[in-house]
């Protein structure tokens, strides 16, 4: 992992002190509500439906055990509303049907950050100080600025990797942090980066998507896409460069952002993202960026050209960790025991198949701890669970964990000898659901139980589907599928990119859900990144689980065989189109009307 220097540490402390000062000026009335809002947002502090929400940055998803323990402490000691706040919140949500409103927990997001839902603003500055003590912060996790950079959860360990994206992600983190020119862009700005052939970071859906690759001469560079984004106008990024030499990536991004800062729309919030500028201006925007890039390099002297020595300095932080648990030779006896247990224990066997992936080091494996299980919302982690993850990372993964785009946690450095004891420990912690990439491994935003923007709740829908699909044989028969749920068109639950997408909409003050089919995040299994297609008018909350059931039954009925294997859900949607699915879903509508 990147090791903070004294500079990094004092910088984050200064930022925490600055926030405390701003908070105090706001509390004393020196800073108006309107003037304070953008400042608190750029430190990750929202005011949500019932209480403030803090979003903590997890740069490119990497967390140490020490940081996890601090997140656990914050959840335990601070993620607790005042009694009156909680009473009002519970009352309001009970009217909608929510019975459980957890406190003292953290939530992993699709952009690999962590959110807390209940910390009172009066304790905000103390929490920022605690975060700073473990090299963490909420800098630019909200606001119209360059947000935390997300990355491949398997960066540096994936067998299909061309180059490790983390050193570049770190250099970009530094370059974007409190960039003086780009703190007040027309709208938020998100960068994702991957160095693997498989895109696990949904790069084409980002304002800037970066994919490391090598050209014919073997040189390293980036494929650069600009102007992807979800929201009410889903757009896939446009390729601006098929190959940009790595040294120039900051110069190029500066050009991309400067032209956007000058010409992006500021008159309409919904048309302010860079995707709208790229769509509206097309080649003119691209020409503008290329000209600005040329000026930056030729006239300004390429001030952000990355020297090799700097790349090497940062890269050294990301070397293979040396620890007894990582360096141990393969223990054949441990493997034999593990195999014997797998033969007798279907859950372990399933877990090995679903949650354990190859590593570029043959002795090691990448293990996913699943945060998709009954009684807790997707991506939610209690204080106790955060401590347990810290323990598991410490014992089995060189003290390092990664937050994934799909709201799980990956242990990137697990020795093959340790798979059985890890599974046993993960099971005790309730983090061993063998469901990675299956239906219940869904993405969901916090929705109308917490978020002020939501039109409908997401968590009860996720819960109903999770309850309905608990049989692992059934889930495995359905196979790999991306189910994504957003509580509103802002698309934090990435419904556009789900093979099945569910979008909460508000009709006459009631919760309804629009269903889309065939979306893709751009992974190999899902095909080229694209938005799903709506299958008709929206459904009531009660209908949604039935609709999912109908869609899956339709798939099982019509799926074809591809060579040795059966078509996946999304392959069937691509081949057969959405019509057979629409028909199946419409039958639910009629049926529910009759029984109502």
């Amino acid at each position: 992992m990147y090791q903070y220097t004294e500079f990094d540490q004092s910088f984050v402390r200064s930022r925490a002190a600055q926030f405390r000062d701003q908070l105090e000026r706001w509390q004393s009335g020196k800073l108006s509500e309107d003037d304070f809002r953008p400042l608190r947002l750029q430190n990750g502090w929202y005011v949500q439906r019932h209480a403030p929400m803090l979003r903590v940055a997890i740069p490119y998803g990497e967390l140490s055990s020490r940081q996890l323990r601090m997140l656990a402490r914050i959840a335990r000691e601070y993620d607790e509303p005042e009694a009156e706040v909680y009473r009002l919140a519970s009352e309001a949500q009970r009217k909608l049907g929510t019975v459980r409103l957890p406190t003292n927990y953290a939530h992993f997001t699709t952009r690999t950050n962590v959110q807390f839902n209940w910390i009172p603003l009066s304790k905000a500055a103390d929490v920022m100080d605690l975060l700073a003590s473990v090299d963490m912060h909420g800098i630019q996790t909200s606001g119209n600025c360059i947000r935390n950079i997300s990355c491949d959860e398997r960066a540096g360990v994936a067998p299909d990797e061309i180059a490790d994206p983390r050193p570049f992600a770190e250099i970009m983190r530094q370059w974007t942090t409190l960039h003086p020119e780009f703190a007040f862009l027309p709208r938020k700005f998100k960068i994702a980066i991957t160095g693997a052939s498989e895109d696990r970071a949904a790069t084409d859906w980002h304002d800037v998507g970066l994919r490391l690759l090598r050209n014919e001469a073997g040189e390293l560079g980036f494929r650069v896409t600009v102007g992807g984004g979800m929201g009410r106008t889903p757009v896939i990024g446009t390729v601006l460069r098929e190959f940009l030499p790595w040294q120039h990536i900051m110069n190029y991004i500066e050009a991309v952002v400067r032209v956007y800062n000058q010409y992006g729309r500021r008159d309409n919030k919904y048309k302010a993202r860079i995707k709208i500028l790229v769509k509206a201006e097309g080649q003119r925007y691209i020409d503008g960026v290329e000209e600005e890039f040329r000026q930056i390099v030729e006239h300004d002297g390429g001030p952000h050209t990355i020297p090799l020595a700097e790349l090497e300095r940062v890269s050294a932080c990301f070397a293979l960790p040396s620890r007894p648990s990582v360096d141990a030779p393969i223990d054949l006896e441990a493997i034999a025991t593990s195999n014997a247990v797998a033969l007798e224990t279907p859950q372990f066997e399933r877990w090995l198949q679903r949650n354990v992936s190859p590593h570029r080091n043959q002795r090691l494996r990448i293990v996913t701890l699943s945060f998709k299980r009954l009684l807790q919302a997707p991506g939610d982690a209690s204080a106790e669970q955060l401590d347990r993850v810290a323990d598991l990372a410490e014992r089995f993964s060189a003290g390092e964990a990664r937050v994934t785009h799909t709201q799980n946690v990956v242990l990137p450095w697990v020795h093959v000898n340790d798979l059985l004891p890890l599974w046993q420990a993960a099971r005790e912690a309730g983090l061993a659901s063998a469901n990675v990439n299956l239906l219940t491994d869904m993405i969901a935003c916090p929705g109308g139980d917490f978020c002020a923007l939501a039109n409908a709740r997401s968590i009860p829908v996720a819960e109903a589907i999770t309850e309905r699909y608990q049989d692992l044989d059934e889930l495995n028969d359905i196979g790999d599928i991306d189910l994504h749920i957003s509580g509103c068109i802002n698309s934090c639950g990435h419904h556009h990119s789900g093979h099945i997408g569910i979008l909460g909409v508000d009709k006459d003050g009631k919760e309804w859900y629009q269903v889309t089919l065939g979306g893709s995040d751009g992974s190999h299994a899902s095909g080229r990144a694209q938005a799903g297609k709506v299958i008709g008018p929206s459904f009531s909350a009660a209908e949604v689980p039935e609709v999912i059931d109908a869609l899956l039954s339709a798939y099982l009925d019509i799926r074809a065989t591809v060579g040795e294997r059966r078509e996946s859900f999304v392959e069937t949607v691509r081949r057969a189109g959405i019509e057979p699915f629409r028909t199946a879903a419409d039958r639910v509508r009629t049926l529910m009307e009759k029984t109502a």
Partner: protein, 141 residues
Amino acid sequence: MNGSTRIRLITLAEHASDASNASRQVVSLANDADPAEQKELIATAARVELHFPNFTDGRAYSQAYLLRRRLGFKGDLRATGDVLVDQLIQMERTGFSSAVLKDGIDPADAQRQLDRFPAFYQGDVIHDAPFVRSDVGSNDE
């Protein structure tokens, strides 16, 4: 500009008196203007004023960068409009040399914000030295 020059904080009254006493040309750029299109005017100006209609509108930061780095403007570059203390350091770093504070702003609050960070990560208009890490310590634990 040299690194030791700090942005000059001036009151609305001082700004008004500057305006009436201006001996050389003052150019006010709208915040959707491209500075390159007025480079002849800017070349002879004593002062260029860039306007923040709202402090969350960040276009003037890019205009300032372009004025300093692209057009080589050496005169006074002034921030007007919705100028708040928390953005002064950004203004200084993008090349503003003076800023007109809104009425009622405590100059002590303003100064404190300017001195808060000992240094920044990225190069800017004042410090042309990104990625030089000799001054920031090593990555050893």
